[in-house]
């Protein structure tokens, strides 16, 4: 019985915890706002976060020192006006002889901070974000991810909600079940007591009434042993089959690359078009890992990086000087028997890179986002509408499709599941 109570108590704690957690996540900030104070409005924080990631993150982090100083509690070190002035034009502040600014400048090897033409509100929103990060970096993290992309935010939030409800319902059901069991047990013990007190039972009945549940015998019974073996075999088989299905699947594979190239910096913050480096993506079957000469287009001028300084970029120079190509580790390994063409998907199909490669612009180290199994390919071919807009190739096909169907033409409708589309 004690055990049951413990369980219930545990469940209650969990439930309460979950409730508090979800409340802390979803409760809107409704505290009164001071005009000069740092905002805690999530919308402002969100705006600040976006700005921070797009502009500041190359050189700054909140809680650690990167190229520039850690920004934690910067709002306590200096007033807002100073911050705004420094962000708009740090050199001006330094040249004005501000002792803090000069000290900072010297401390960071006289690296100039780029001037940003932000409005006051924008800078304030960034500070709001910094403040939130300073005070509560852990709680803020999931929010940050969730708000990062437009559609996934909704999706992951609602998915979180439903699974939470699911667990709550489960716990409630379990509690009800336990209560029923307790009640039934009580009834049985009351009835037994009552029958024993009656004393007019014959031996056979007494035996039944007083019979103890023999757990040992039950465990040894054929039915139980058989059932247990069945469960065991099924579990082993399932594990084996699952294991086999995962053979060769490298989802999440994020090997260390010879150069610590950051997509987060290049694609995320600097917003360099994927096509700029991956030149084949619209014309060829392979998107192509950029050759060193493409790196050199920018890095002949940009010689220092925000994270590793000159170390990683120097590797490009070394490769060029010694005439040795850079040996990247291949992440997406389709088997040779499958033919995939980037141009077909990106140029013709207008599929976003992120659809298959994930939020590449947030990846510091690139990892394999998708399963890259045939089932994964086919699933997309079943669900995806063909990009037929302004493409004469599809005109007649769309016409024919619309004659027989009301739903838009999917890839599957034009033979997207046929073997020879990918295997030859």
């Amino acid at each position: 019985m004690l055990k049951h109570i413990n369980t219930v108590a545990y469940c209650k704690t969990v439930l309460l915890g979950l409730l508090i957690l979800s409340a802390s996540i979803f409760s809107p900030a409704v505290y009164a706002q001071d005009a000069n104070a740092i905002s805690t409005d999530p919308a402002v924080i969100q705006q600040g976060e976006a700005l921070f990631k797009a502009n500041c993150k190359v050189c700054h982090a909140v809680n650690e020192q990167v190229v520039g100083p850690a920004l934690a509690k910067v709002y306590e070190r200096q007033n807002m006006d100073w911050i705004i002035a420094f962000v708009r034009n740090s050199q001006k502040v330094i040249q004005s002889g501000d002792p803090y600014a000069v000290e900072l400048y010297n401390k960071f090897n006289k690296t100039e901070m780029t001037a940003f033409d932000f409005s006051d509100d924008e800078i304030k929103s960034i500070i709001a974000y910094v403040k939130q990060e300073t005070e509560n970096p852990t709680v803020a993290a999931p929010v940050a991810t969730a708000t990062d992309g437009a559609t996934p935010a909704e999706g992951s939030a609602s998915a979180g909600m439903s699974s939470e409800y699911f667990y709550i319902i489960l716990v409630v059901l379990f509690v009800v079940l336990v209560l029923i069991l307790i009640v039934l047990g009580l009834i049985v013990s009351v009835l037994t007591k009552f029958l024993n007190q009656q004393g007019n039972l014959d031996e056979a009945d007494k035996e039944i009434v007083n019979s103890k549940t023999d757990l040992g015998a039950f465990m040894k019974s054929k039915a139980f042993v058989g059932f247990a073996i069945f469960i065991f075999v099924t579990l082993v088989a399932k594990t084996a089959v699952d294991g086999l299905f995962s053979v060769g699947i490298q989802q999440g594979y994020a090997p260390k690359q010879p150069i610590a190239f950051s997509h987060q910096l290049h694609a995320g913050q600097l917003e360099i078009d994927c096509n700029y480096c991956h030149t084949g993506v619209r014309i060829s079957k392979s998107a192509n890992i950029p050759s060193a000469n493409i790196c050199m287009n920018c890095h002949s001028i940009v010689k220092t990086g925000p994270q590793y300084g000159e170390v990683e970029i120097a590797k490009i120079y070394k490769a060029v000087e010694t005439n040795t190509p850079i040996e990247w580790v291949r992440i997406h390994n389709l088997p040779d028997l499958a033919y995939f063409n980037h141009a077909q998907h990106v140029e013709v199909g207008n599929v976003e890179c992120q659809t298959c490669h994930g939020e590449i612009q947030t990846m510091e180290v690139v990892q394999q986002h998708a399963l890259l199994t045939m089932g994964w390919c086919i699933d997309c071919h079943r669900k995806t509408d063909v990009n037929t807009a302004d493409n004469g190739y599809y005109d007649k096909l769309v016409e024919l499709h619309n004659e027989s169907s009301k739903s838009p033409m999917k890839v599957v409708n034009i033979g997207g599941l046929e073997c020879s589309k990918c295997h030859y």
């Binding site: 079957k285 040996e327 990247w328 004469g392 073997c419 295997h423």
Partner: protein, 1031 residues
Amino acid sequence: MKQSNKQYWKGIEQLTNSHEVVKNAEREFPEFLPINENGESGGSSRRDFLKLMGFGIAAVSLAACEAPVRKAIPYLNKPVDVDPGVANYYASTYSLGGNYCSIVVKTREGRPIKIEGNKLSNITKGGTNAQVEASVLSLYDKERLTGPKAKGADIDWVALDKEVISKLEAIAAKGGQIRIVSNSILSPTTKKVIADFKAKYPTTEHVTYDADSVSAMVEANSQSFGQAVIPSYNFDKAQTIVSFAADFLGTWISPIEFTKQYAVNKKLGKDKKTMSRHYQFESNLSLSGSNADYRTPVKASELGLAVAHLYNALAAKAGLATVSVKAGSFKNLDKAANDLWNNKGKSLVVAGTNDVSVQVLVNAINSLLDNYSSTINLAQAVNYRQGNDKQMAQLVADAKAGKVDGVIFYNCNPVYDHASGTELAAALAKVGFKLSTSDRMDETASLADFVAPDHHFLESWNDAEPKVGSYSLGQPTISPIFKTRQAQASFLVWAGGSDDYYNYLRNNWKSTVFSKQTSLMDFNTFWDKTLYDGVIELGAPSAASVAFAGDVAAAAASLSAKTDNGPELVIYQKVGIGTGNQANNPWLQEMPDPISKATWDNYLTISQAMATEMGITFVESNTSLVNLKVGGKSVTLPVLVQPGQANGTVGLAMGYGREKAGRVANGVGVNAYPFLTSANGFVSFEITSGVSIEATGEKYQVPQTQTHQTYMKRQNIVQESVLSEYVKDASAGRFHPHVMGYDGEKKPSEISLWSGHTYSNHHWGLVVDLNSCTGCSACTIACQAENNVPVVGRQEVLNRREMHWIRIDRYYSSDADANDVKGLEIAAENPEVVFQPMMCQHCNNAPCETVCPVAATTHSSEGLNQMTYNRCIGTRYCANNCPYKVRRFNWFKYHDNEKFAAVNVAMNDDLGKMVLNPDVTVRSRGVMEKCSLCVQRIQAGKLTAKKEGRRTNDDDVTTACASACPADALIFGDMNDANSKISKFLRLEEKEDKKVVKEERAFHMLEEINVNPNVFYLTKIRNKDLQENNV
């Protein structure tokens, strides 16, 4: 319509319908399954099972571990024009041993992987042949020299140049004789380089010879017209073609060009109901002979006589004096004379004999027929064969006499491929300085002191002037793989110049070709455009009649001197191997000879009558060895009973029996060159006396292909008729099967279990014109290159496991009863031949699809029968159920397998693998494969169209076979596209959602079983008289 009672047969064994053949014909695979590599007897044991299981478990657990790290290495400096994954095409020129073809080279990531014909060329017009298609593999030959050699040891170029120049200067200083020996050089700039060399070393003489010499033709033209040239021929303008042993469709002078021209008059359609008529008189059954409307087997010694008789017949018609010749009667000769006379000025007579007298007579005939103003253009001389037999004989004599001090063999191998090769080899000991530019240590190079290996033609800059007024540029499509150097650059260095041949070439073009043209004013623009096009035509004088000044009577008199002296040996070229300069190319070695269907061997072709006489039987590749003796030389070789072989003659192919070509070719077949004789100073390929053949009684197997692929019933596979019938009824010769149903007779297509497919997007189809197909097999090699088809080697061909996706079935037909030996001889004496390219028919009701237990072969929504290798488990049910026998099973892992390393070079060494098409999977052991209609090209073509936002057209997609075909016998296209060539050709019409083929000649193979293929065949129409066809 009257059905033909012709009997079709694949070979002698089938004609006799022997027990063995019937038994084998019913089987898809031979009963024995010799795949036990351990050589253990018996099947698998329990131990094997445990071993396999243990290995399997280990493999699975290993596979479950972390996948191996794979590197992706981008360019350091990406060339602007190269995008990984995108093919680049460069126009270039193939010229090898005087054979010419304007080509477009497909490269991927900077390596050539496929050769296509260049449609901009007026000469080859986009056609290729097997040798041209295969030459890309020769580039990646491991046997090529990796750098220069001196006395067999490695040396660097600087040291070599120093030594060579000092030797040459020493010879020049003492006034010694230097010779440059080469095959025909088509390149005018190379000739200029040699002239520069001569200027530096004035005692140099350039000796040109050709392994397949036509030197006598040049001499004859000199005697007849005072012009020592070979003229241009226009087979397309000829309504009557008479060939005396000239295999102009296979190997003679410029076969691609001639096939293109020949095919023009073989096309029939709604608006064209005329055809040329082709007579062939020859000893061996050649490719041209097998395409002739009338073919007469003639003994080699009587061939000249036949020409003389033709001259007399025509001279009589023209009212000219006849010449006195020995009496003789040749079937069809009078008929040919009549046709020629009726088509005066629209006819053409050619002879392949290297005999001045015969050639003079042929010139006389053509002159008499006024052909020099139309079908023969003496003013537009061709440069394909410039060999001079007399010069070469003189060189051998001089070398023997010790008069030659230095000799440079420029990309030629006379020790192997010249009649006096052995004498030359001995005489070379007396030559102080010997250098070869050969790409390998071949028979000649291994006797040289220095070897300065030349680039492969795909690594070189070059030009060519195939005929007067036609120029062609060759450009490198890959950086040199080895430390070789372009031979022209070597000559320039030795002549004291710089090794910059590219600029030398440019400058030469600036002063020659550029100055002759007027359309472009800027040289750079001109150069870029010509390089892009590959060819430039400056025009040549048109054909004009010339006065014949030859001595016909003398020529005829010298012919009459020939007498009958026992068996006669005729040395010929096979379409694949040719003269043997690409013998180390396994694609060519495994290409079935179009006529004999033999691979990996040469053999003595003999007539059935001779075989019977010698007591030799030839059943399903099983034959005997014989001793062939000519003069003092003898060799043991197998015989092959060849229907159509002139009785009393035997044939032997040159190009085999290489000793130092490399591990593919060495020891394959016997060398025929030592048997060549010299007659009146010209190399003679017909040895008419002193030949003896003795049976040894030893058994031997010649690996042949076709004897083991068979159909359910053969009677209606080939559907043919004659022109007169076709004119009356365009569906003449068609077989219309009917099936008896409960409600009477029906067309097979009206009864079907299947509801059929609807093709809303594309509907790919292929048309095979049996009338145009010459059987040249360019398609087979093109397909092999495009689709990574493995080479399996001699033993596996014998085991009936060749892998070609497209094969050319060759059927003989005759109407003689073959039930007795005499009848067999008659039937085999001179059968008609028909070639039928056979690839997956892409059936709409495919029998293979329904029997596959794992759905590895399925139908696509575009009409393709798809084969999915990774799904196939190798039950081979599909192959068993295929009525066309076009499915190929991977009995072995042909790639990375030591057992096949010597033959399947394209999949076994790092160099060879560079030729593989990266868009096509290399199949592994245990899976079925077959023609995919080049689905990778279809997908690529569709993508091009999609990117441009339009539908596909004929220019976007074509299959490798159709693109290679020099006769345009294969038409591929989208049958849903009303504007496609195939739709127009078949005159497709939509009726009740079904496509109706209006073209009367089109038929489906095995229509009676209603598998409803997407491949159509067009009936073969022979331009014969009705009674002679015995219909």
